[in-house]
């Protein structure tokens, strides 16, 4: 099968959905002529024109309002925040409006809105350009949260997100854009809400999200040298998440490591740990391990940055610890 990059996969998803449905439009900063900071919207302006590819002012609250209002009257906006960190300016529109309007109106309206944003550090941009705030959005009822790990899933999930009738936050790890992988051509869809076992194993379950999936797979390779068999689950959709796939795996392995590269405290991994301890309590032979970014703003200096981020080594160590008893 052809190999394309994560960024190109997203770009294909946008193009295909925009061709399919004339009320899909994209809006954000520098997404038009420039094609977006990470090239995800490249070529859209040329193909679909300025009406459907809107270069906005630097006005994050208005961008979000554009999405909510556009969705309310029947279009399907795909808005972009240049970095997820900037969504902090638009939280009212997203949390108090996009996420609540369907419920608050007793189901009268819906908000088919996709919000795309790059997340995470690792490129030295410092504390205001490195946050992965998925836990916030998972916490608030009314918004689905998606985080693909591979080009294939990136394309299929984005297409599903655009066709979904409710708000979807679509998070793209900055260091994945250049990653390549096999992606079916044509109308390839991945449903929201389903995890995928990316590697089977019987000793330890690693539940991972986004870029940490590849770290987990690498860790699994290393551990296989010691004959430790790791099962790697890629959640893909963080909310609603696929508890069944997790439970099935834990029933087999009895040991779990949860990996997420947001902050640890009150982070996404905490929810997964809490759900596992509640649903799989009697299956567990060892405390569920959390491997997360350390609880600190992201420093600019590369060495410091690295020291705070989830690494393959930490996953290996956590799996080994889980096997120790």
């Amino acid at each position: 099968m052809r190999q394309i990059s994560f960024a190109v996969a997203l770009n294909e998803a946008l193009k295909e959905e925009m061709r399919r449905d004339p009320v899909v439009f994209v809006a954000g900063e520098d997404i038009g002529k420039m094609g977006g900071l990470f090239k995800v919207t490249q070529g859209l302006l040329e193909e679909f024109g300025a009406g459907r590819v809107l270069d906005t002012p630097i006005s994050e609250a208005a961008i979000a309002g554009l999405g909510v209002g556009g969705a309310l009257v029947g279009t399907r906006p795909v808005i972009e925040f240049q970095f997820l960190d900037f969504i902090t300016i638009a939280m009212d529109q997203i949390i108090n409006h996009a996420a609540k309007l369907r419920y608050m109106t007793g189901g009268m309206v819906s908000v088919p809105l996709v919000i795309r944003a790059p997340v995470c550090g690792g490129i030295g941009l410092g504390a205001q350009h490195s946050q992965s705030l998925e836990a916030w959005f998972v916490h608030v009822p009314g918004i689905k949260v998606v985080m693909p790990a591979t080009p294939r899933d990136a394309k299929g999930l984005l297409k599903s997100a655009i066709r979904d009738d409710n708000p979807v936050l679509f998070l793209e790890h900055r260091r994945l854009y250049a990653a390549t992988g096999e992606v079916p051509s044509g109308d390839h869809m991945v449903p929201l809400g389903t995890a995928e076992v990316k590697r089977e194993g019987s000793d330890v379950t690693v539940v991972a999200t986004g870029r940490t999936v590849s770290l987990a797979l690498a860790a699994a390779d290393r551990l296989s040298e010691q004959a430790i068999k790791i099962e790697v689950i890629d959640l893909r959709t963080l909310k609603p998440f696929d508890m069944q796939t997790i439970s099935n795996s834990v029933g087999k392995t009895n040991r779990v490591v949860v990996v997420n590269d947001g902050w640890r405290t009150c982070g996404y991994a905490a929810e997964i740990v809490a759900s596992i301890q509640s649903e799989c309590f009697y299956d567990l032979d060892f405390p569920v391990q959390r491997v997360c970014n350390k609880d600190a703003p992201m420093p600019a200096a590369a060495a410091l940055e690295r020291s705070l981020m989830v690494s393959e080594e930490q996953i290996v160590a956590a799996c080994s610890a889980a096997m120790s008893s």
């Binding site: 609250a61 979000a64 909510v68 209002g69 309310l72 409006h97 109106t105 007793g106 009268m108």
Partner: protein, 305 residues
Amino acid sequence: MCLIRAFEREIHVLNKDGLVSGTAHLYIGMEAIAVGACAAMADGDFLTSTHRGHGHCIARHLDPARMMAEILGRSDGYCRGKGGSMHITDRSKGVLGADGIVGGGIPIAVGAAYGLRLMNKSSVVFCFFGEGASNQGSFHEALNLAAIQRLSVVFICENNQWALSAPFVATTAGGSVAKRAAAYGIVGEEVDGNDIDAVFAAATRAAGRAREGLGPALIECQSYRWEGHSIFTRQEIRQQEEIDDWKRRDPIERCRRKLIETQMASAEDLALIETEVGAEIARAAEFAKSSPNPDESSALEDIYA
């Protein structure tokens, strides 16, 4: 206008009876704005409303009975009791929703106008907000975006002189919302918000320009709220004199006088309307009071994530 006033008076009564679920912000004294502006709306136009939204809904011909049911938290309300006074919505009548967030509806109006243009509609979006909301960042971002995109939005600032306990001049630099339009290169106009004809004329002009593709306009309507900020926050810090002074400029009385003077209507015609309004409100209250509470199971409906 009479219907709005009678509606709000009834909310007062229902509240005294302990029937209102949560809060309600009454529109009494400002009726000419909603009625004047909404009269300029065409089929297919939309509006976004505020926490003080009953007037806009009634001016858009929403059913007072279902509105009242919503305010009482009953299952026949527009939002099946889930919204309450601050979230009454009727998409089919172009009401995209009242809003509990001051300034929250302004960017949504802009988004709606953008979406409508994308679908090749010539509709206009009427965006209501208080003068207090004009100090929110959302006001600025939304007006700039609407202006630069020449979107069909009529921004209608209801300047009732107070934002909860804050007097207009103490919180709003420059002393004029209408003049802020110049910052965005759009038309800004100040009108007497107690003069229904003036409001209608300004809104009609603005909507007309918008339909010609000339972009948004900002209309500041000077008016006053007669009642406390809300039935929940009744503490009054305004001077009684000021309140009385504005009550003398009653928009309904003024309209009534004009209709009679210009012989558009007789005193009898108007009395008849009052009677009809009274009957409609009584029916509405009856309907609302007898509407059942929503079933508990509905609390978890419309949850998808």
